[in-house]
C-alpha cells in the first residue's frame, strides 16, 4: 500500500506498520523490513585518494583560522558539514564552524552533528537565514521545536550512534567537511580527547568522519608538538589544523561529579533493575552490562555493585558512558575492563587517561550494524530509558507523547541487541503514562525489548519465557504490562487523548541498518496551550 502526496513524496507502510516516506531529502530511502532482513549490498564508501605530495613534509598543517580552513577544504553551497558532541553542552566549535561558513557566504548546508545540545540553539537563526538547510542528527530543545513545528526546509534524519557510522560508511551520507574538536592535537592532526584543559574522554564519535569525509579539519585549544600521544584520530586523515583559544567550557563538557538521583521512586526502579539482573541469573562471574549516565542507570550501578560484592561476583567488562560509578567498579576489582563510548565526569576522564583497563571504543566497535558483528550484542544486560513503551514492548525514545522531538537516539537502538534489554522508567511523568497502546514514534521494535521496569512493577516480554522461568520464586513484583498500564491510568485519570499531528513529515527515524522505521509528523504550534 502506498500513498503519494501533492509534493510527490511517496509513503509506504513498513514492516513495523508505520507510514514512512520512500524519498528522504531527495535520496531514495528503504522502508524498515524487519530486524536483520535488509541485506546490504556493494562496497563501502571511500574518500578521494590524496597524495603526500600535496601536504607539507614537515607535517605542519596549521592554518590561521576556521575560515581559512573551510576555504582550503573547498567550502561550497549545499555541502555537508559534520561535527561531534564530545564536548556536549560546552561545545564552542560546531557553532563557530557554521558561523564561519555563514561569513564566507555559504548557503544550504547540511549539518551532521553526532548529537546537538542546547548550546547549539543559534543554529535556528542559521536555518532562518538559509545558511543551514537542515539537520541530520539529534534535535531537542529549540532545535527540536523548530523541526517539530515544520520550519526546517529538509527532513530531519535521526540515527543511532551505530546508524550514523553505518550511514557514513555505506555512503548514505557523504561528508564534505568534518570538523573535529580536539582537546589535544599536534600540527599533523593527530588528536586525542583524554588530556588538555577541555579534556572530554574518548573522541570515538569522530572516527568515522575522519576516515570517510572528503576533508577533515582538527580544531584544538591544546596544541602539542608532534607526536600527540596517545592519538585516537590519525593525522593522516586530516587536512588542516586550527588553533583556537577555547574549544569548550570545561564545566559543561563533563560534570564535576555525576550526582545520584535522590528521587525515592527512581531509586526504587534502580533497585528493582539490579535485583532483576541478579535474580534472573544474569549477574554471574564474567558477565557484562551497560548503563548510561541517567539518574536511574547510575543508581543501578550502585545497587548492582553491592550485590556483586555480596555474591563475590566479578564482571569481565562494563560499558560506559563512564562515570565515577563505573570507575569505582574498576578500581575495586569488580570489573576487568571499562569499554567506554563517552565519558561523563571528571573521574571518568581521569581514568580513561591513566588506566589502561579503561578503554576508548567507537561506534564502529560498539554499535555498527554493517560490520562483522559489534560489541552491543555481546553485552549481557543493558539498562536504557524511553519516553513511551507500548503493550507490545515497542518503545519510543525520540519524541514526547505530544509528538515533539525530545531526545536523540544515541546508542539506544544499538544497545537493544544485548542479551537482556531493560527499559527502566517511571510509570508516569507529569501525569502522562509511559505505557501506552501505541507509541507516538517507533524507535525500537518490541521484539528486542525484554523487560520494562517501573516503580509499580516489572513487566517481562512474553517472548522471554526463559527469563520468566529463571525468576520463578523471586519476590520481585513481576506483573503483566497491561496491568501496570491500567493501574497508572486509574491514577492519572485515563489514557491521554492522542494528539492530532499534521500529515506533514518533519523527520524520519532510521533503524540500525539504514532503513526507515518511522516518521515524525509536524506538531501544530498551538499545542502548548488549549
Amino acid at each position: 500500500m502506498s500513498t503519494i502526496r501533492d509534493d510527490g513524496v511517496e509513503f509506504v507502510v513498513n514492516a513495523a506498520g508505520r507510514r514512512v516516506p520512500t524519498l528522504v531529502n531527495g535520496a531514495p530511502a528503504r522502508p524498515f523490513t524487519g530486524i536483520g532482513q535488509a541485506a546490504p549490498e556493494g562496497t563501502k564508501h571511500g574518500p578521494p585518494i590524496r597524495s603526500a605530495a600535496d601536504y607539507p613534509d614537515d607535517g605542519d598543517k596549521r592554518v590561521p583560522d576556521l575560515k581559512t580552513a573551510l576555504g582550503r577544504c573547498g567550502l561550497r553551497d549545499g555541502m555537508t558539514i559534520s561535527t561531534h558532541h564530545h564536548l556536549r553542552n560546552g561545545d564552542r566549535v560546531a557553532l563557530a564552524v557554521l558561523q564561519a561558513a555563514a561569513e564566507l557566504g555559504a548557503r544550504d548546508l547540511m549539518w551532521l552533528p553526532s548529537a546537538s545540545f542546547p548550546c547549539h540553539e543559534p543554529v535556528v537563526d542559521l536555518m532562518e537565514q538559509g545558511v543551514v538547510h537542515h539537520i541530520e542528527g539529534s534535535m531537542n530543545g529549540p532545535l527540536g521545536a523548530y523541526c517539530s513545528h515544520g520550519h526546517m526546509r529538509g527532513l530531519g534524519v535521526l540515527r543511532s550512534h551505530g546508524g550514523r557510522w553505518q550511514a557514513i560508511q555505506d555512503g548514505e551520507v557523504h561528508i564534505d567537511i568534518a570538523v573535529i574538536a580536539a582537546p589535544t592535537a599536534d600540527p599533523f592532526g593527530n588528536a586525542d580527547g583524554s588530556h588538555g584543559p577541555s579534556a572530554c574522554g574518548s573522541l570515538g564519535f569522530a572516527l568515522a568522519d575522519s576516515m570517510y569525509a572528503d576533508h577533515v579539519i582538527v580544531v584544538t585549544d591544546n596544541l602539542v608538538a608532534f607526536p600527540c600521544i596517545p592519538w585516537q584520530i590519525q593525522g593522516n586523515h586530516v587536512d588542516c589544523v586550527v588553533e583556537v583559544d577555547s574549544i569548550g567550557d570545561p564545566k559543561k563538557i563533563v560534570s564535576g561529579t555525576t550526582v545520584l538521583t535522590r528521587s525515592p521512586d527512581r531509586l526504587l526502579i534502580a533497585e528493582y533493575v539490579a535485583r532483576f539482573v541478579r535474580d534472573a541469573g544474569i549477574m554471574k562471574d564474567g558477565f557484562s552490562f551497560q548503563a548510561g549516565a541517567g539518574g536511574i542507570a547510575l543508581a543501578f550501578v550502585g545497587y548492582i555493585r553491592q550485590m556483586m560484592i555480596d555474591a563475590g561476583v566479578k564482571a569481565r567488562f562494563v560499558r560506559g558512558g563512564s562515570s565515577s560509578y563505573l570507575v569505582d567498579l574498576l578500581n575495586e576489582g569488580l570489573t576487568d575492563y571499562i569499554l567506554d563510548g563517552q565519558t561523563f565526569d571528571l573521574a571518568g576522564v581521569q581514568s580513561i587517561g591513566e588506566d589502561p583497563r579503561h578503554v576508548a571504543t567507537s561506534p564502529f566497535t560498539s554499535y555498527n550494524y554493517h560490520g562483522k558483528g559489534n560489541f552491543a550484542s555481546m553485552v549481557d544486560a543493558v539498562v536504557l530509558g524511553a519516553t513511551e513503551v507500548d503493550v507490545e514492548f515497542n518503545a519510543n525514545v525520540v519524541t514526547h507523547s505530544d509528538g515533539m522531538l525530545l531526545h536523540g537516539i544515541g546508542g539506544w537502538q544499538n544497545c537493544l541487541f544485548s542479551g537482556c534489554t531493560i527499559l527502566a522508567l517511571p510509570s508516569f511523568r507529569d501525569r502522562i503514562p509511559v505505557i501506552v497502546d501505541e507509541v507516538t514514534t517507533l524507535t525500537g521494535p518490541g521484539e528486542l525489548v525484554d523487560v520494562v521496569v517501573t516503580e509499580r512493577g516489572i513487566a517481562v516480554n512474553p517472548r522471554r519465557q526463559d527469563l520468566l522461568a529463571a525468576l520463578e520464586g523471586s519476590d520481585l513484583p513481576i506483573r503483566p504490562i497491561e496491568e501496570i498500564k491500567t493501574e497508572v491510568e486509574r491514577l492519572v485519570g485515563g489514557a491521554p487523548t492522542r494528539p492530532s499531528l499534521g500529515d506533514e513529515a518533519v523527520a524520519v527515524i532510521k533503524w540500525v541498518d539504514g532503513t526507515v522505521i518511522d516518521t515524525v509528523w509536524r506538531v501544530p504550534e498551538t499545542s502548548e496551550s488549549a
Binding site: R429, D430, G493
Partner: protein, 404 residues
C-alpha cells in the same frame, strides 16, 4: 458585609510539578468560563476542563470565570485546588465536589497491626503522595499539621480527603495527623467520612482531648460508627505534661492503639537541645513505653530527622527497639527499610524463640508443667516473650510458613 468574589489556590511557578494553580472569580451570569493552560494540554486539556467543571458543578456553582494553570496534576489534585479556590472565592460549601472514589477502602488495619514504619506525607504536597505506598511503609501519615502552612490548612484538607478517595497507598495503613485542637476538630469533618484507619492527635496532654476527638469521630460517623473496624487513635506526646499523663492518655479510649512522641517539641518544652544520642529524651521515651504497655497499646518512637545519615538512623532505631518501641516515623521513603530491618528480630533471635516455643508446645502436649530446653528450665515470661517474637517475625514475613 463584603462578599469575597475571587479566590485562588495551588502552586504557580516554573519548578512546580504535578500540581496546578487555579483562580476562580464568581460571577452573576455567563455560566462557567474555564481557561486551561498546560504543557500537556494536547493530551489532557479536555480532561482538565472536565474535572474543573464537574468540581464547580458539585459545589453548585453555575457562574464563574476560572483560570487553570496546570503543571501535570492528576485529577484528584485538580479537583482539590479548584474546590479550594472556589470556596475561598465565597462559594457555598454545602455541595459535594468530591471526586469519585477510585480505590476501595478495604480495611487494612487491626488493633495490634505491625506499625514499624509510618511515612509522613505533607498534606499539601500531592506529588509526594502519589507513589508513597510503593515504598511499602506499614503506614502513611497524611499530615495536616506542621508540614502545612497556616494559610493552607483549608486547601490541604481537600487534597488529603481526595487522596484517600483516589490514591491507593498499597498495603499501608492510612493515618491522618490532624491539627492541634480545636482546629483539628474541623479537620475531622473533612477527613473522617473517608474512613482513614487512624487519626494522630498532636500535642496531646490529657485524656479529655482524646475523648473529645473520639467523640467527634463517632458523631461524624453517626450510624456508621459501629461498623468495624473503628478509626483508631494515636496520641502524640510532645510536652512534659503530656508525658506525665501518658498512662491516662493511653487508657482514655478503646480506640487508642498506640502512643507516640514528638521529640522536637518535647525537647523545646524542656529547653534542651535534641541530640543524636537522645539522652535528654530517655526518661520521656521510657515513660511512654511503660505507660503504653501498662495500657496495652503499642509504643512508637519519634522520627530521625537526618535523611542522609543512614547509620545514625539504624543506631537510633536499634536503641529504640531496645527500649521497647515497636516502630518509628519516617520523613523519607529511604528510611523505611533501615527501620524495618532495625525493628525486625535477628535470625538468631527468631531461631532461639522458635526453639523455646517448640519446647513449650511439646511440654503442653505431654502435659508437663515445666518447659525445658536442653538442660535448662524455661520460665513462663521467657516463653511469652518468645511467643511474641515469633508472632512479630511471622507478621514481618521473616518466617517462611510451611506449605506456603
Amino acid at each position: 458585609m463584603a462578599v469575597a468574589r475571587r479566590g485562588e489556590a495551588g502552586r504557580a511557578g516554573d519548578d512546580v510539578r504535578s500540581d496546578l494553580h487555579v483562580v476562580v472569580e464568581i460571577t452573576d451570569e455567563g455560566g462557567l468560563e474555564i481557561e486551561v493552560t498546560s504543557k500537556i494540554a494536547s493530551l489532557y486539556g479536555d480532561s482538565i476542563e472536565d474535572t474543573t467543571r464537574r468540581t464547580l458543578s458539585g459545589l453548585g456553582l453555575e457562574n464563574a470565570r476560572v483560570q487553570v494553570d496546570d503543571k501535570g496534576a492528576v485529577p484528584f489534585v485538580i479537583a482539590a485546588r479548584v474546590e479550594a479556590a472556589a470556596l475561598r472565592a465565597g462559594a457555598a460549601g454545602d455541595g459535594d465536589a468530591r471526586p469519585e472514589r477510585s480505590v476501595s477502602r478495604q480495611p487494612r488495619t487491626a488493633r495490634n497491626r505491625l506499625r514499624r514504619s509510618r511515612l509522613y506525607l505533607p498534606g499539601d504536597q500531592p506529588k509526594l503522595q502519589l507513589n508513597a505506598g510503593l515504598h511499602r511503609p506499614d503506614a502513611v501519615i497524611l499530615d495536616l499539621e506542621d508540614s502545612v502552612h497556616i494559610d493552607q490548612k483549608d486547601a490541604a484538607r481537600l487534597v488529603v480527603r481526595n487522596a484517600i478517595r483516589t490514591v491507593g497507598f498499597g498495603e499501608a495503613e492510612i493515618m491522618v495527623r490532624i491539627n492541634q485542637l480545636p482546629l483539628g476538630l474541623d479537620d475531622l469533618v473533612a477527613i473522617v467520612p473517608e474512613r482513614p484507619d487512624l487519626v494522630l492527635i498532636p500535642k496531646t496532654e490529657s485524656a479529655a482531648q482524646v475523648v473529645e476527638v473520639d467523640t467527634r469521630i463517632r458523631e461524624i460517623l453517626g450510624v456508621n460508627a459501629g461498623a468495624a473496624p473503628p478509626i483508631w487513635i494515636m496520641p502524640i506526646l510532645e510536652t512534659a505534661l503530656g508525658v506525665e499523663n501518658a498512662f491516662q492518655i493511653a487508657s482514655a479510649s478503646p480506640a487508642v492503639v498506640a502512643l507516640t512522641i514528638g521529640l522536637e517539641d518535647y525537647t523545646a518544652d524542656l529547653g534542651v537541645p535534641k541530640t543524636l544520642e537522645g539522652a535528654e529524651s530517655l526518661f520521656a521515651r521510657g515513660r511512654l513505653v511503660n505507660a503504653a504497655k501498662a495500657a496495652g497499646v503499642q509504643a512508637i518512637d519519634s522520627v530521625f530527622g537526618d535523611v542522609g545519615n543512614e547509620d545514625g538512623l539504624r543506631a537510633w532505631a536499634a536503641r529504640s527497639r531496645g527500649l521497647g518501641f515497636e516502630g518509628m516515623g519516617c520523613i523519607h521513603p529511604r528510611q523505611i527499610r533501615p527501620i524495618h530491618e532495625a525493628f525486625a528480630p535477628s535470625a538468631e533471635e527468631i531461631e532461639k524463640a522458635r526453639r523455646i516455643v517448640a519446647a513449650f508446645e511439646e511440654a503442653e502436649a505431654r502435659g508437663l508443667g515445666v518447659v525445658s530446653l536442653g538442660t535448662r528450665m524455661v520460665d513462663p515470661p521467657v516463653v511469652l516473650r518468645a511467643q511474641r517474637l515469633v508472632d512479630l517475625a511471622r507478621r514481618a514475613g521473616l518466617i517462611e510458613e510451611a506449605g506456603s
